[in-house]
Structure formats: structure tokens, C-alpha cells
């Protein structure tokens, strides 16, 4: 069992409020990812769950029991640290055994668990080596192994892939997903990399400035971001934001003016908008296509990044930046005029406060 419930969690260091009213219910066996820019409090939240930091207010429950006063050792959780935090003076075997010996486990069982974890993570050949003699990837496995042998209620992973090189990160990411499928325990994973979040998570928790901005499955966040921040954070490259003004309105539909001259007809069912309202329109770069007809957006090309399979076009629309990712290779160069079409693209509308205007 590994059900974790956070109610109204507050944490401050002196007068700095790092976490503000966090409410979250993590189900047993779920792979949940905390994502957000650095300094948003995601690591602090993880450390509060671990018991390494005391909360200033609110309640943490693990499997229905309040654990606010329970020490880190007795919460039954295991943590994988960003720096791996392997004990450098102990062999890999001793590293794995340390936590088990501390809970007075019989030697035979300790040995058995280490063998099992070592086999699962393929670190058997290195068991007698010191962490200093291992490569980054091997150290990372040992760090995960040290968590696995404890058979914890939940795994807490603090940016475990950030110290690996790009190639290894991709393969380890896949292994981590496979490991979760195999063990089935709850995993809470902290990262600032939204690609990791998208690929690993059952549910993503997007945080900003100590607050949860949105909780949802990766596709929910991608398709219906709750606000401008989430919209900008999830997805690569970032979503384009264009300022717009409502110029006409009829039943369930509104006409917006973007880029100074271009008119867009959008459905706004169930929303009260009046002529003159200022909005923000979000368009993902992948949803923009190149067009020939003059009725589309005319932009000035600033930079072209040819990636082979696709081309990234940085463009300028009346002083607003616009990014387009178009498939294939294009004959287009900086300084050219281009026509962007957003016809048929899913549009995300945000009101003056940056909140999503729902399109039911």
C-alpha cells in the first residue's frame, strides 16, 4: 500500500513561504511527477513527504495514518537523491545493506534482498566496488537499488536523471518506467524537465511558486492546460501566446482580432465575453502550418532552425514572437515574409487573469 494524502500543506523558512496550501491525493501504485521551474518548491514538497523537512501547517497521511510527527526513518519511504548520495566509503553491497542492517534485519534476508535487487538492476558485477569506481549510470542504479531493497511503501525520486548525459537519460527513463511497471509501488518523481514528466507520469503535478497550478494526466495538461503558465510549461517548444481582442460576438461564437489585422472565429460556448475584451490566444508551434493564401497571418522570418525531419521557424508578427514547427525541410530564410495558417489548429484561450476559457 502506498497511498499518500496531503492536506493544506504549508512550509515556510522564516518569512519565506515555500509551500502554500498544497492539497494532493496520490493513489496507491501511481507514478506521479512534480514538475515546475526551479525554486517552485517541488523538491521541498518531496522532502516534506519524506520527513526530512517538518511542515509548518497541514497534514500528511500515508495509508490513512497521520505522519506529521513520524520521523523520516519510520515513514517507510525510500528516496533517491539527485546526487545519488551513495556512501563513498562503503562498497555497493554495504551501501545497499546499510538501511536494512539499521532495521535489524537477519543477515540471510539482507543478503537475499541485495541479490534480488542486484539482479533486477544488473549491478551484480559491481557489488564489491566503491561508488567512486562506478560510472554515472551505474551509480544511479545503485541509488535506485538502495531504495528497492527497503521495499518501501513509496519511492521518492528527486531529479534522479539530471546528472546523466542525454543519451543515458533516455534509456534510464525507459528502464525506470519498466521498473515501476514491475514493482507497482507508488512513485513520486521530481523533475524540472517536462519531457521526463510527460513520458513517465500517470499524473503530473505542475507547481509554481509553492502552489499547485494543475494536476492531471500528461495529455490532459497538454490538451487542456488550466492556465497560461501550464500551457507555456508543458510542451516543447513552448506554446505561442498572441494577444487578441474580441471584436464581434454572437451566440456561442466570437471573432477575435490577432496580429493587428487577422480575424479568428472561435467557439466560446458558455462564456460571457463582450466586445473589447482582451484575451490571450495560445497556439502550439506544431499546429501552425505554412500557407500560400494571403488571408493567413503574414509574418517576418527571424531565424530558421533546420533539424532535418522538421524545421523550426522563429517569426515576428507585429512585434509578437511566433514559433512554428513544420514537418520536412523548407526553402525559407531569415528576412523572408511567410504566411502562417492557424486554420484548424486547437486554440487555447486565456482571459485577462491567464485562466483558461473553457470551450465546452
Amino acid at each position: 500500500m502506498g497511498e499518500i494524502k496531503l492536506t493544506d500543506i504549508k512550509k515556510s523558512f522564516g518569512s519565506v513561504h515555500v509551500l502554500k496550501d498544497i492539497d494532493l491525493h496520490i493513489k496507491d501504485g501511481e507514478f506521479i511527477v512534480f514538475v515546475g521551474p526551479s525554486g517552485c518548491g517541488k523538491s521541498t514538497l518531496l522532502r516534506t513527504i519524506a520527513g526530512l523537512e517538518k511542515v509548518t501547517g497541514g497534514e500528511i497521511e500515508i495509508d490513512g495514518k497521520r505522519v506529521n510527527e513520524v520521523t523520516a526513518a519510520d515513514r517507510g519511504l525510500a528516496m533517491v537523491f539527485q546526487s545519488y548520495a551513495l556512501y563513498p566509503h562503503m562498497s555497493v553491497r554495504q551501501n545497499l545493506a546499510f538501511g536494512l542492517e539499521n532495521s535489524n534485519m537477519p543477515k540471510a534476508e539482507v543478503a537475499e534482498r541485495i541479490t534480488e535487487a542486484a539482479r533486477m538492476l544488473e549491478i551484480e558485477p559491481y557489488l564489491e566496488r566503491r561508488p567512486g569506481q562506478l560510472s554515472g549510470g551505474q551509480r544511479q542504479r545503485v541509488a535506485i537499488g538502495r531504495a528497492i531493497v527497503r521495499r518501501p511503501t513509496a519511492f521518492l525520486l528527486d531529479e534522479p536523471l539530471s546528472n546523466l548525459d542525454a543519451e543515458l537519460r533516455v534509456s534510464t527513463r525507459a528502464e525506470l518506467a519498466a521498473l515501476h511497471a514491475r514493482i507497482g509501488s507508488t512513485m513520486i518523481y521530481v523533475t524540472h524537465d517536462q519531457v521526463e514528466a510527460m513520458t513517465l507520469a500517470h499524473r503530473i503535478v505542475v507547481m509554481r511558486a509553492g502552489k499547485i497550478e494543475q494536476v492531471g494526466t500528461p495529455l490532459e495538461l497538454y490538451n487542456t492546460p488550466a492556465n497560461r503558465f501550464v500551457a507555456g510549461f508543458i510542451g516543447a517548444p513552448h506554446m505561442n501566446f498572441l494577444s487578441a481582442e474580441v471584436v464581434e460576438q454572437e451566440a456561442g461564437k466570437a471573432t477575435l482580432l490577432i496580429g493587428g489585422s487577422h480575424r479568428l472565429l472561435v467557439p466560446i460556448a458558455g462564456h460571457e465575453l463582450s466586445v473589447g475584451d482582451k484575451l490571450t490566444v495560445g497556439i502550439r508551434p506544431q499546429h501552425i502550418t505554412l500557407a500560400n493564401d494571403p488571408g493567413s497571418l503574414t509574418v517576418k522570418v527571424r531565424l530558421v532552425e533546420a533539424l532535418g525531419s522538421e524545421t523550426v521557424i522563429h517569426a515576428d508578427l507585429n512585434g509578437e514572437k511566433l514559433l512554428a514547427v513544420v514537418p520536412g525541410q523548407r526553402q525559407i530564410s531569415p528576412g523572408d515574409d511567410a504566411h502562417f495558417s492557424v486554420a484548424g489548429a486547437p486554440l487555447h484561450l486565456f482571459d485577462g487573469n491567464g485562466l483558461r476559457i473553457k470551450d465546452k
Binding site: R47, A50, L52, T71, A72, A73, D74, L77, A78, M79, F81, Q82, S83, A85, L86, Y87, P88, H89, F98, G99, N102, S103, R146, R150
Partner: protein
Amino acid sequence: MGVASRFILRRKGGKGWHWTDIVTWLWLVGGLIIMFGPAVWLVFSSFKTPAGLAEFPPSILPYVTQQATVQGYDKPLQLFEAKLPDGSTRVLAEVRRIGIMSQMVDPKTPGELIRVNINDRTPVRTLSFATENYTQPFVHFDFLRYLWNSVFVTVTATLITLIVNSMAAFALSKYEFKGRSVAMLIILATLMVPLSVIMVPLYSIISSLGLFNNLWGVILPTVATPTGVFILRQYMLTIPDELIDAARMDKASEWQIYWRIVLPLTAPALAVLAIFSVVWRWNDFLWPLIVLSRRELYTLQVGLSIYSGELNVQWHFILAMTVVTMIPVVLVFIFLQRFITTGIAGTGLK
């Protein structure tokens, strides 16, 4: 010219002597003489007889003037190489000296006295090592007892120093508590208080604790050193906190974190402090002299002072025993020097 000389005479650019080569040589040779000269002089002087020590001008090697027993004279006479008026040189024995003239005899023909100007004679000297400087103190004085006292004080004080200071350093580097930096500051401030200032109060504390004339009275006041706390704290600050968090998650108690994680990782700094502590305690003189007044409790350094009496300083014994007392410190340095370098490098950069 072997490999060694080619290595030693290697020069900048390969050909010719650049001025930096000469400066380097002078610097290194000068350094060698300044650093090593006194030690060499001490060791050689420790093998000199009292007469050899009083000699002027002094020599580095222990020479003695050769002596010969001459028929008709009770005491052995000193041998000289004398230049005679006829221009020949002969080895003669000096009977007595009157003013600038020396009365000498030829050991082969003792009957005839020869008068020689003292400027025309030079002593016949040979190398001789006065090993009795070393052997006699062992026989006449309680050298082994002093040695044991010194070893006991040094080893015990060093062990307690390492434990106590590392505990303080652990708390000051790894725990957040109010007044932490104030505590550290106060500890460091005591660096500025010399022993002579606290000597009297310290003495009254030790004496009221009944530790006067007790080796523990020498050990206990010295074990908490600000330098030690500072060295260890600075080193422990470089141990990542994540390791300690990891140990906490691994159900380690605070004692286990200290003993099994922090202490082993502080080994290089502990080695440095151990060397310092051994040298300090071994060379301590003033405080043991104050606390210990019974002979059988003397440490080596205090024991050595016995040889310098009010009227008569027995330099030959002092020098010989100084060499003996130097040996353990030198050994400690030889065996632990790699820890010093790694430790000092380690405390500076990561």
C-alpha cells in the same frame, strides 16, 4: 653520468645554464641547508663529548683529539702534529702548556721534552661517536619511565582530542540550531587566549579536581582544541547534506550517522589533526612541568630539563635525548605525511 645526475642537472631549454636554473639551484640548496642543517647538526652534536661540544670553532662531525699513554705519565696525553724548528713534522704528546709554549714529548722517546709554539701544532683528531651519550641516560635516569609517560599522554590525549573535537565539529557543521555561529565564534576566539593567561586558573581547577601530579591533569585540559574543531568543521561542511539525509532515510540513528558516515568521510582531516595533536602533546613542556612535580610522572620533555642543572648543563645528554624524543614525531610524519597532503588539499578544494 647516470640517470640520477642527468635528472639533477636537467636545465631549462636543454642547453646552457639559464639564470632561472641558477636561482632554482641556489634556492633549493639554500632551503635544504636552512631546513635540514640544524637537524643534522643536532644529530652529529649529540655524538660529541662534552669537550667536543665546548670546542671553538665548532665542527659538524664529532671529532676527538687522539690520546696516547706515554711512559712516565699517569694520565693519557693528547697527541699533536707539531712543526719543529728544523722544518720537520712529528706527532708529539703534550705534557703541559705554559703561555704560548707547549711542552711536548715524543711517545717513542719519553725522556726528552720538546718546546713548541702552540701555533705550530695541530691536534691529531679522529672521528668518534660518543654513544655513551645515548646509553648512559638509559642507565642513570628513568628514561623508559619518561618515555612511557609521554607515550601515554600523547596517545590518550590524541584519541580523546579526535573524538571530542569531531563530535563538536559534527554538531557545528551538520545541525541547525540557534547560536550555532556564536558557539563557533566563541570556540575560535579562544585561539587568541595563550596558555600563560589561563595557566593560574587552570592550575587551580586541576588542583581542586585532585588531578595535580596525575597524568590525567596533563591530558584533560588539552583535549578540546579550537584548531581541531575548526579543521574538522570546515572539512565536514564539504560532506554533502544529502548523504546525511540518505542515512536518515536508511533508519540510521544520529550516533550512527556520526560514527558510520561522517567520521569515516572525515578521515583525511582526522589524520591531519592526529598529527598535529601528537606533535603538540609530545612537545608540550610548560603545562606538564606545572602539573607534574613527582619524578616518576615526568614526561620526556620535562625529564630532559633535569639535565640542565643550576650550575652545570649537560648538553651532551640533552642533545642525545632530544634526538631520541624527535624520533616518534619524525616517524609519525613519515607514515602520515600523505594524509597531511591529501587532507590539506581536501580541506581546500573538492
